[in-house]
């Protein structure tokens, strides 16, 4: 549905986006994840035909964003970053305005405005001036605008910024419900958002895509080592006992672990799974084994790893 091929955008000397390629299948939600200034907004602005790429190409539903921009624009709904809306208008008038620009007739507009207002929970502010609405309401008016014409593709730039936790949860469920019939690209710098709403994730850092996969696969493939949490009681040194065990590469004290005894994180080579040997060794020593469980690497850790490694390369 969305194809991006070695897209590059240069502002003078500065490369905001370099050689970015990815695809989004029909009905899929892609999370576009990256720290601020990584090139997320620039990429989305090229996809929505707001600006042209320096090189590379992108197409939506088979239409090129540069050559067939009108066809592309009529098929997408866009929520720009920071949701710029006409402050003097009411949400109802605003939605009628964009509906008219998209060629919707009056009965259609009335019906759709009613629908999207209910979905985004803005029905009680439809006739207040947008400038007087809270950030959370404005954000949802923007989302309603993007959904108004029931577009095939939705491009949402930081859709949950500025919302309270309850609104965030509501917005995420609205976005999740869009999947299947709609193709969605959602940019965010918030990690849980991706694992909660997206089927696939592309991580962008300094203008480059550094990883793309499902959130789970990313966690599995990116893990450089497996980790096991071990809790013991007793005074002996766990480090000394476990270091000779096959597969174990490091033993670290886990200071965040409260409760009884002492907590440790044992790192081991991928695929070695030394858990039975760890158990045996600890039980055979003078320490009491209280707990032993595998730790999964979180998306957050992968994100930090990927984006910091990248910075290191550049330096």
């Amino acid at each position: 549905m969305i194809e991006v091929e070695s897209l590059t955008k240069r502002y003078g000397e500065f490369e905001a986006v370099r050689d970015v390629s990815f695809e989004v299948e029909k009905g899929e939600i892609l999370g576009f994840l990256g720290p601020n200034g990584a090139g997320k907004t620039t990429t989305l602005r090229i996809l929505t035909c707001f600006m042209g790429p320096t090189s590379g190409r992108a197409s939506i539903a088979g239409f090129d964003v540069v050559e067939e921009s009108m066809q592309v624009r009529s098929r997408i709904g866009y929520l720009p970053e920071q949701v710029p809306l006409y402050r003097e208008m009411t949400p109802r008038a605003l939605l009628h305005f964009y509906g008219k620009l998209r060629g919707m007739n009056k009965p259609d507009r009335v019906e759709r405005i009613d629908e999207v207002a209910r979905t985004t929970a803005i029905d009680d502010v439809l006739d207040k001036a947008i400038g007087k609405l809270s950030k959370g309401y404005r954000q949802r008016v923007g989302l309603a605008q993007a959904m108004l014409h029931d577009p095939e593709v939705l491009i949402l730039d930081e859709p949950t910024v500025g919302l309270d936790p309850r609104q965030i949860a509501d917005t995420r469920s609205v976005i999740k419900e869009l999947a299947g019939d709609h193709t969605v690209i959602l940019s965010t710098h918030i990690l849980p958002e991706v694992s909660m709403t997206c089927e696939r994730v592309a991580i962008i850092s300094e203008g480059r895509i550094v990883a793309k996969d499902t959130p789970d696969a990313l966690v599995n493939s990116m893990a450089k080592h497996e980790r096991t949490f071990v809790r013991v009681r007793g005074d002996g040194s766990l480090e000394r006992i476990l270091e000779p065990v096959a597969g174990v590469s490091a033993v670290k004290v886990d200071r965040t672990a409260g409760g009884e005894g002492r907590g440790f994180i044992v790192e081991s080579e991928v695929g070695s799974d030394p858990r039975p040997r760890i158990a045996e060794t600890v039980v055979g020593s003078d320490l009491d084994l209280l707990e032993l469980r595998p730790l999964a690497m979180s998306l957050e850790e992968i994100f930090v790893e990927l984006t910091t490694v990248e910075e290191g390369v550049e330096a």
Binding site: T54, S55, P80, Q82, P84, R87, L101, R102
Partner: protein, 237 residues
């Protein structure tokens, strides 16, 4: 028509902001004063005298009408949402310009009251046709000045900058004929042909000539075209 959807929204926005009211109040206030002064000095008011004054007023008021057209969309970043709708850039530019024309025409219609006064005072001896041609000239010169204003509004996000640049350029178009008096022959002729005053004065004298209409139409087209190109430039790699 998307042009009219955009023009309609813009016109409503003008009237929802204080700008339209300040412009209208100042325009009618100052015009009324000038009218008082003119009628106190002369018993027989020639209507075309008022036409010149209305042209001068346009120099001051047009920058205030057109300054927000695109500059405000840039400043508030609503332009991003507008240009990503399935709307052509020329439709946005022409829509904005039409909305400005709407407010300008409201001002002109208000000034018709002076004609009405004159008409009544002259007890039917007044020739109304020059008034009509003068108003045609005012509409045409307004079209061109507002196109200039739309252009300068498209290159900046600062409304004050847009208004000042517009004022500078339209005043230049107004005065360039006077510059011609220092030159001779061909130069004088060129400066005269470029100036808006030369073409406008013919209308004020009651002469409707296709050549003058073409001048204003071309000027309007040129500046609207430049505005469209400015808007398009965002997508040049």
């Amino acid at each position: 028509m998307r042009v009219f959807v955009i023009a309609g929204r813009e016109l409503k926005a003008l009237f929802l902001s204080p700008i339209a009211y300040i412009v209208l109040a100042l325009y009618f206030g100052i015009m009324g004063l000038v009218w008082l002064i003119v009628t106190a000095q002369q018993v027989q008011v020639e209507y075309r005298l008022m036409a010149h004054e209305l042209h001068v007023f346009a120099l001051f008021f047009i920058p205030a009408i057109s300054m927000r057209a695109l500059a405000d969309e840039r400043r508030t970043r609503t332009l991003e949402l507008l240009v990503t709708q399935p709307v052509r850039d020329w439709e946005i530019v022409v829509g904005k310009w039409l909305a400005c024309m709407g407010l300008y025409v409201v001002m002109l219609l208000g000034s018709l009251q002076f004609w009405a006064h004159l008409h009544v005072w002259s007890e039917g001896s007044m020739d109304d046709l020059p008034v009509l041609s003068a108003y045609l000239g005012l509409v045409l010169v307004g079209m061109m000045y507002l196109a200039i204003g739309t252009f300068f509004s498209s290159i900046t996000e600062n409304q004050v900058v847009a208004a000042l640049l517009t004022f500078t350029v339209i005043v230049a178009f107004y005065f360039v004929r006077a510059l011609g008096s220092v030159g001779t022959g061909e130069l004088q002729d060129i400066l005269m042909q470029v100036s808006t005053t030369y073409h406008f004065d013919e209308f004020a004298r009651g002469i409707v000539d296709t050549g003058h209409i073409v001048y204003f139409a071309l000027g309007t087209f040129l500046f609207l075209f430049m505005s469209v190109r400015t808007l398009e430039s965002r997508s040049w790699g």
